[in-house]
Each structure stands twice: as structure tokens, then as C-alpha cells.
């Protein structure tokens, strides 16, 4: 049921950079438009945390939460019809042809990700925009994110990007402070 992991170059990751997330809901709407979803289910959801703290010292952040596409996904193991599947490239998705809308996956998932689409009676869950990705396109949420808080690519490239940005931040800091 859960395929052997292929080499990492075939897999992609979605990096959520909370330091750039402003809670604008763009990813949520992009996902709905891409998958033609009604009001209700939110395969990606932005959660506002805070403000915490006292007086002038407040902290507030936003966290875009979506399916983690687990290596050992509980939803896949729990699904009675085999609708919930994990692909070789790591994407966990639900096949609407097989889904009976029993929501066992929703109970099994430790992160509360799968939700029912009230229009179709089937599970609506992040499918990693697999059709888009197969066509070489970025997932809708990442592409439309106004601030670049969602970054998509192979782990090597994404990590490289993070490191490079961090290095530049250090260099710029040095330049400005001396």
C-alpha cells in the first residue's frame, strides 16, 4: 500500500516560511479555485497565533498548515476502500472514484487534515497539486502566495535556497553594521 521511497530527486517539498506569512488567506483561496471546492473544507489553512505577550512586547505569527504527506500516513492505513493512497513521489491523495466519504481518514489523521467536501460527499485533502506538478507547474498555493512564504521544489534546491538567503542576510547585516 505504501510504496518504497524512490530517490529523493523525484520528490518535492513545500517549505512554509512563517517569517513571511501575513495571514492573507491567498493560499486557501488559490487551493479552492484550483480544486473547485465549495465553502467549508480548507486543504490549506492559515492559523493566526497571538498576539502573545504584554504591553508593547507583543508577538504574533501566522502558520500555513496543510497535509504533511507523512512517510507512514495513518490516513492511508485507515482508509477502508483504498481511496487514500501514497504515491512513489511522496504525495498522499484521495482518489474520488474510490472514496465513500466515511471520514475514517479524518479520524486517523493526527493533524486533522482530511475534511469532507459537502458538495461531492468525498474527502477534500491536499493532493500536492499532483496534476499541476506532473505538468511541471508549481502548486497553486505556492505560486500565488503574495509574500513568497510558500516555496516549492526538490529538497536539495529548497534547502540550498534557504541557506543562500540566510548567508546573504548575514553578509548584509555585516555590511550595514560596520
Amino acid at each position: 500500500m505504501i510504496p518504497e521511497q524512490e530517490t529523493e530527486k523525484d520528490k518535492n517539498v513545500l517549505l512554509v516560511d512563517s517569517s513571511r506569512c501575513i495571514g492573507c488567506f491567498s493560499c486557501e483561496v488559490a487551493c479552492k479555485m484550483e480544486h473547485d471546492l465549495p465553502a467549508g473544507p480548507l486543504p490549506i489553512k492559515v492559523i493566526q497565533v497571538g498576539p502573545l505577550g504584554e504591553g508593547e512586547e507583543l508577538v504574533m505569527s501566522f502558520q500555513a498548515a496543510t497535509c504533511l504527506h507523512c512517510d507512514r500516513p495513518a490516513c492511508v492505513l485507515a482508509c477502508p476502500t483504498g481511496a487514500m493512497q501514497k504515491r512513489a513521489d511522496g504525495i498522499v491523495f484521495s482518489d474520488p472514484e474510490l472514496c465513500i466519504g466515511c471520514q475514517t481518514c479524518a479520524i486517523a489523521c493526527p493533524f486533522g487534515v482530511p475534511q469532507l467536501n459537502p458538495t461531492t460527499g468525498k474527502i477534500a485533502k491536499c493532493d500536492g497539486c499532483m496534476v499541476r506538478v506532473e505538468q511541471g507547474l508549481w502548486p497553486a498555493c505556492a505560486l500565488k502566495c503574495p509574500t513568497g512564504a510558500l516555496i516549492f521544489g526538490t529538497p536539495t534546491r529548497v534547502v540550498q535556497d534557504v541557506r543562500q538567503q540566510e548567508a546573504l542576510r548575514v553578509v548584509r547585516g555585516l555590511k550595514l553594521d560596520t
Partner: protein
């Protein structure tokens, strides 16, 4: 410059489509480029335009969800009429016949009560063409009462010939510091805010001053919380301190300011005694702020729309000039929602005296409306008809709603059955922006052509079509020359929008010489067209800067009012709503509660209010019901809501609690805070 190339983005659609329309989103004033994918006259997908210099392929929630308005089953698509607000609407299939009926009704009202019996109200969503059409029809009809929310740059004391450029948001990465005052850019304009974050990651210091702890504040390097409506006062104090520290640009001052000595002296003598009480900020904090800003040149000042209606607004332009930030890359003044150039709407038609009431220019909308409420009931010449677009009667015309009930004709030009529709006798279905060609004036002062994506839903027409149809009928009966008022008619009797916008561009000295063809050419996104379109030869006219007042007066707060209404109230926009039609988009409608009432946890605790409780917010005149959202985003002494109430001070209590109880509890609570029984 250290440069960095980020990961390649792979844009595009997977949806089957016949054609792609490259256009500009008109949901707000950022001016994002979008690509709309159309199949069989339906929009099947919307993607950002990767080549667009402002938006770089990104889109906000509103810039996608607008599609749901176009096909909404609740949309009004036929003109309709009824006797009174309690009757059923009778649908009229024919626009022309509906206009005949309307003209007949209006003619009767005009005959009986005269031309001043008609009020016209314009909401921004109906478009620039509805607004201009309304202004010209009002001239033809001879009514002075046109209410609108169109913004034009106020009198900033810049003599003609002196060109002040607003630099585009892409220039913020060249700033040393961005100072956002009462501007929650992350919420109102998320795509533009990405430039703030880009600047920050390049080392630009981000400072934000606002009352609520907003999303913008949460990203700032320095967050300063001030009392509502005191942003301009903070500007005055900052200017004074930067002058004291000698951080200003003396050379520019000598060269450009009319009387630099006198100007400087006004700041030297300005007393700051009332400052701390007015703004809730310590002078030490302002000093730290002025030191930081004064040493980080160039700074871009980004000011919110709310500041524009208040005293001393022009301090920001004066500051940007005095500090030498203006006309320098990475510096200057960026006022939000001020991207529409001054347009002389009626220069080409005969001159008549006309009193056009713009809230933006006149300052106090409530005062004006109260005045209008009196005028409307004048037995000599009562106001008996109103033509409104959007949801004016539930928005900026709320104070005259009671008068509207007694009118002979209430006409609603719009797309959805809202509260204004509830009042109406006649309805005319309006096109939405995606169905009509238009111009987009962005915050950046870019002028962009927004190509229509699809043809209008059958039965809907543009605002200019409406006014032109009405003008023709009125003109024919009165034997008036109406054509010069509407010189943009196509052979089918409808509006040639290209001709109209070419005319419009010619009406402003800032945009004259630019035309739609030129703007279409800029559609590849590589180069935007900005106004002023022609670089003027900067003559040596001296600038008259904003002088400091003698002292900073505390805001007028009557003791008695403070007792009965112990909390400040603020209403600002939420991220998922733009115009009235955004209420009909299921994707964004579910995201945020429109009647949320944000209360500080400590205040809520003493009042016994919990998250999600039904609460009542009441001011001296306005009242609203809402759901409590308990959050530290608001200070203890304030409540916030996206719903407009038209009040500055309010009382909040939950259901089942009397106002006396709530006043008593809050009185003790604030007393304790003041005397130190609780931590300040």
C-alpha cells in the same frame, strides 16, 4: 549590491481553455497583473502575471475570488421595479423600457419638486465611468448633490510645475527604512506588502505605527502603538525632533522652501505638552524613532488612507522634502489610495455652479451628512429621489437612511440584493469590473489598462451606459443638448469605453498626452506608465511647506462621553473584503466574520465576555450587534470591528447585561488601571 536569484517559479494553468486575457485586477489600488483563462465565455482559472513589475505573479484572495461574483446565482441580471419596499419586484426584460419608466418618474419628481430634489451617490465599485457619468448627469439635471468616495490628491501646497514623483513599491528595496503610519499594508494590500518583506530581508528597517497590533506591525522591526487618529500628530513631533537633532537636508530646504527660517521656527516653538496624552507615546520613544529615521536615509513614508482626512496630513510630504528623501531612489512619500490624478470632469461643458460633495476633500463626512439630512427635509425643496450604486445606504449614506424611506424614488444600480436594494423601488443591473474595459490608477501612480475578461452577463450594463441612456431621455424631453455631456456614444447607443478613457486621460494635466493605445502597449509588463505622464521642467517655484501648529492639542474628548462610552472604537478593512460584491464570494465570505468585535482579553474578562459571545456595541447614535473576538491585537481601552458604526467612542456589553452594569464595571476597571491596582 549583493544580488540573489531565487528559485525558479513554474507558473501556468492546467485547466482547459480557449483564450487567455492579460489584464489588471481592479479589486484594490495595487494594480496587480493577472492572466484570466477563459473557456466558452467562462473564467476557468486565474493566475498572476509573472512579468508584471508590481505583482510578479502573486495574487491575493480577492484577486481570485472575484470570479465567484460573476456567476453567482444571486446576481441581479434584469432591471426591475416595484411600488414600495414591501412589494415584490416586477422584472423588466428590456433595459430601454426600464430607462423610459425611470425617466418618466424622474421627470414627474423634477416637475413637482425641482432639480435639487435628486441625490446621486457613487460607490467606488461602480467604477470611474459611473462616477464621471454621474457628475455629468448631475450637471445636465442641475442637482448639486453628488456624494462619492473617489479620492483625489488633496491640496498639498505644491505649486504647479513642481513635480513630486511617487516611486513604485518595487523601489522600497532601495530604502534604508520604511515607516508605515496607520497603514496595515499586509491586510489591505498583501501583494504590495511583499515588497516590504523583500526590503526587510535586504536590511531595510521596518517601522510601523498604528493603534491595533496588526499583521503589518507583527512583521515590523519596531512597532509603535498610538491612539487612533493621531498619526499626523506623531509626524509633527518627529519633524520637530529631527530638526532639533539637525538631521534635515539644509541645502534642499534653502533651495526649495518658500521661507525656510520661518518654517523651522514654527517647529522650534511648537509645544509638545499635550503630545503624550494625545498619542499615548512617550517623548523618549519619539526621540528614539527620530534618531533611527534621521540616520537611515533615504526613508520611504507610507501613510494610510485614514490620515488623509485629518489635520496636518501634508506633514508627510513636508517631512520627506525637508529630510531630502523626496525624488531619491528608496525615499519619498507613498500615500495609500491616492493614485487617481486630479481630473477636471466638466471643463468641456458649459459652466454652472455646482456643489459636489466629496468626503475626501471636505473632511467631516458625518457633519456633511447631517447637513444633508436637514436639506433633504426642507419643505420648500425636499429631496425626493436618490440614485445609488453599490451599498451606499448601508455604508457612507447610513445617516440619511431614515429620510430615504420617505422618498418617491430610490434607485439601486448594482449587482447583488444588498441592504440598499432592500430600500429601492427600481433596480438596474450593473456590470462587474471583469466585464468592462477600464483604467486602473494604482497606488504607485501607474496608469494601466484593464482589459475586460468576458462579455457582460446578459442584461447588465456599465455605469456610463446607464447615465447616457438617462441623459438622452431627459435631454429629449427638455430639448437640451445632452450629447456634449456624453460624447462617447457608439452606433448601438452604448458607451465606447476606449473613447471615454481617452477623453478622461486628456482631462488631467497629469495624464494628458497618454492614451489607451499607449497603455495597451505597456501590457507586456516590462515597463509601466506613470503619471505625471510628462516630466515637467522643474521650475524654481518655491514650495510652501506645512508649518507646525503652536501646540499639540489633546483630542477633544468630553468627560461625560468618556464616562458613558468608555471605549475607543475603530473600524478598518479586513483582508477578504473589498467592495460590496465581495460579500457574495463563498471562498472569501467564510474566512472572516464581518460582525466580529475585537476586545482585549482583560477587558473581556471583567465584562464576562468569552470568545464568540454575542455582544452589543453602542455609541451615542450608532449601534451594532456582533461576535466577540478576544485578542490582544486591541489595547484594553479599544474595540475594533470591520463593521462601520460611525462612532469614535462606544460601550460594549454582552447579551443580558445592562449598559449601566457595563459602564460601572469598565469604570472600576479603568480606575484600577490608572491607580496602579492593575499593571498599566
Amino acid at each position: 549590491m549583493i544580488d540573489y536569484r531565487s528559485l525558479n517559479r513554474f507558473p501556468g494553468t492546467r485547466k482547459d481553455h480557449d483564450r487567455v486575457v492579460r489584464t489588471i485586477c481592479q479589486e484594490c489600488s495595487v494594480g496587480c497583473g493577472l492572466l484570466a483563462y477563459v473557456k466558452e465565455a467562462r473564467i476557468v482559472d486565474v493566475q498572476g502575471d509573472e512579468d508584471h513589475p508590481i505583482s510578479r505573479g502573486r495574487l491575493c484572495a480577492k484577486g481570485m475570488a472575484f470570479v465567484q461574483g460573476l456567476e453567482n446565482p444571486d446576481r441581479i441580471t434584469r432591471p426591475a421595479t416595484r411600488e414600495g419596499p414591501h412589494d415584490q419586484f416586477k422584472v423588466l426584460d428590456d433595459w430601454e423600457k426600464a430607462l423610459d419608466l425611470l425617466a418618466e418618474d424622474l421627470r414627474k419628481i423634477n416637475g413637482k419638486y425641482g432639480p435639487r430634489s435628486l441625490i446621486i451617490a457613487c460607490d467606488p465599485e461602480a467604477g470611474l465611468d459611473y462616477y464621471i457619468g454621474a457628475m455629468r448627469f448631475a450637471k445636465l439635471w442641475d442637482t448639486p448633490f453628488v456624494f462619492h468616495l473617489m479620492r483625489s490628491p488633496g491640496d498639498l501646497s505644491i505649486p504647479p510645475g513642481v513635480k513630486i514623483r511617487t516611486r513604485p513599491c518595487s523601489d522600497w528595496v532601495n530604502s534604508q527604512c520604511l515607516f508605515l503610519v496607520e497603514a496595515d499594508l499586509a491586510t489591505t494590500h498583501p501583494v504590495a506588502f511583499s515588497w516590504v518583506l523583500d526590503a526587510q530581508s535586504r536590511g531595510t528597517k521596518i517601522i510601523a505605527a498604528d493603534t491595533r497590533f496588526t499583521a503589518t506591525m507583527s512583521k515590523a522591526d519596531m512597532a509603535v502603538r498610538i491612539r487612533p487618529e493621531t498619526g499626523n500628530v506623531l509626524g509633527l513631533a518627529l519633524m520637530k525632533m529631527m530638526l532639533e537633532e539637525d538631521l534635515h537636508d539644509s541645502a534642499f530646504l534653502e533651495e526649495a522652501f518658500a521661507d525656510p527660517g520661518q518654517w523651522k521656527a514654527s517647529f522650534e516653538t511648537m509645544s509638545l505638552n499635550g503630545f503624550e496624552k494625545t498619542t499615548n507615546l512617550t517623548l523618549e520613544k519619539v526621540k528614539a524613532l527620530s534618531g533611527l529615521m534621521g540616520n537611515k536615509s533615504p526613508v520611504t513614508l507610507i501613510t494610510g488612507k485614514r490620515l488623509a482626512n485629518r489635520l496636518n496630513y501634508s506633514i508627510w510630504l513636508t517631512m520627506a522634502m525637508a529630510m531630502g528623501w523626496i525624488n531619491v531612489s528608496g525615499g519619498g512619500w507613498y500615500p495609500l489610495d491616492s493614485g487617481v490624478p486630479r481630473i477636471t470632469q466638466n471643463a468641456d461643458i458649459q459652466d454652472r455652479d455646482s456643489l459636489v460633495v466629496s468626503f475626501e476633500e471636505e473632511g467631516d463626512p458625518n457633519g456633511l451628512l447631517k447637513e444633508l439630512a436637514v436639506i433633504a427635509q426642507d419643505p420648500e425643496s425636499p429631496v425626493k429621489a436618490i440614485i445609488c450604486s453599490g451599498n451606499c445606504l448601508n455604508d457612507f449614506l447610513t445617516p440619511i437612511r431614515n429620510i430615504v424611506k420617505g422618498m418617491d424614488l430610490v434607485l439601486y444600480f448594482g449587482s447583488f440584493p444588498n441592504a440598499t436594494w432592500d430600500f429601492s423601488h427600481m433596480v438596474f443591473p450593473a456590470t462587474l469590473w471583469a466585464e468592462r474595459n477600464g483604467l486602473c490608477f494604482s497606488n504607485d501612480r501607474a496608469i494601466q489598462w484593464s482589459e475586460k475578461i468576458i462579455d457582460p452577463v446578459d442584461g447588465c450594463r456599465s455605469g456610463l451606459d446607464f447615465w447616457m441612456g438617462l441623459a438622452r431621455r431627459f435631454g429629449d424631453v427638455k430639448h437640451l443638448q445632452w450629447e456634449p455631456y456624453f460624447p462617447w456614444k457608439k452606433e448601438d447607443g452604448l458607451t465606447d469605453h476606449v473613447a471615454f478613457y481617452n477623453w478622461l486621460l486628456d482631462q488631467s494635466p497629469d495624464t494628458a498626452g497618454c492614451d489607451v493605445d499607449r497603455l495597451r502597449g505597456s501590457g507586456d509588463g516590462s515597463k509601466l506608465v506613470f503619471w505625471p505622464f510628462h516630466e515637467g521642467t522643474a521650475d524654481r517655484a518655491k514650495i510652501k511647506p506645512t508649518h507646525a501648529p503652536a501646540a499639540i492639542e489633546p483630542l477633544i474628548q468630553e468627560q461625560e462621553e468618556e464616562k458613558s462610552y468608555p471605549l475607543c472604537f475603530q473600524a478598518t478593512r479586513i483582508i477578504s473584503r473589498s467592495g460590496d460584491s465581495s460579500r457574495w464570494w463563498p471562498w472569501t465570505q467564510e474566512l472572516e466574520l464581518e460582525n466580529a468585535v475585537q476586545i482585549n482579553p482583560e477587558t473581556a474578562q471583567v465584562l464576562g465576555i468569552e470568545n464568540g459571545d454575542e455582544v452589543l456595541v453602542s455609541g451615542a447614535e450608532g449601534k451594532m450587534e456582533g461576535r466577540a473576538w478576544i485578542s490582544r491585537m486591541v489595547p484594553r481601552w479599544m474595540v475594533w470591528s470591520p463593521g462601520h458604526l460611525g462612532e469614535r467612542r462606544v460601550l460594549v456589553h454582552k447579551r443580558g447585561q445592562t449598559s449601566e452594569e457595563a459602564i460601572h464595571i469598565l469604570g472600576e476597571f479603568f480606575n484600577d488601571t490608572r491607580t496602579g491596582n492593575r499593571e498599566g
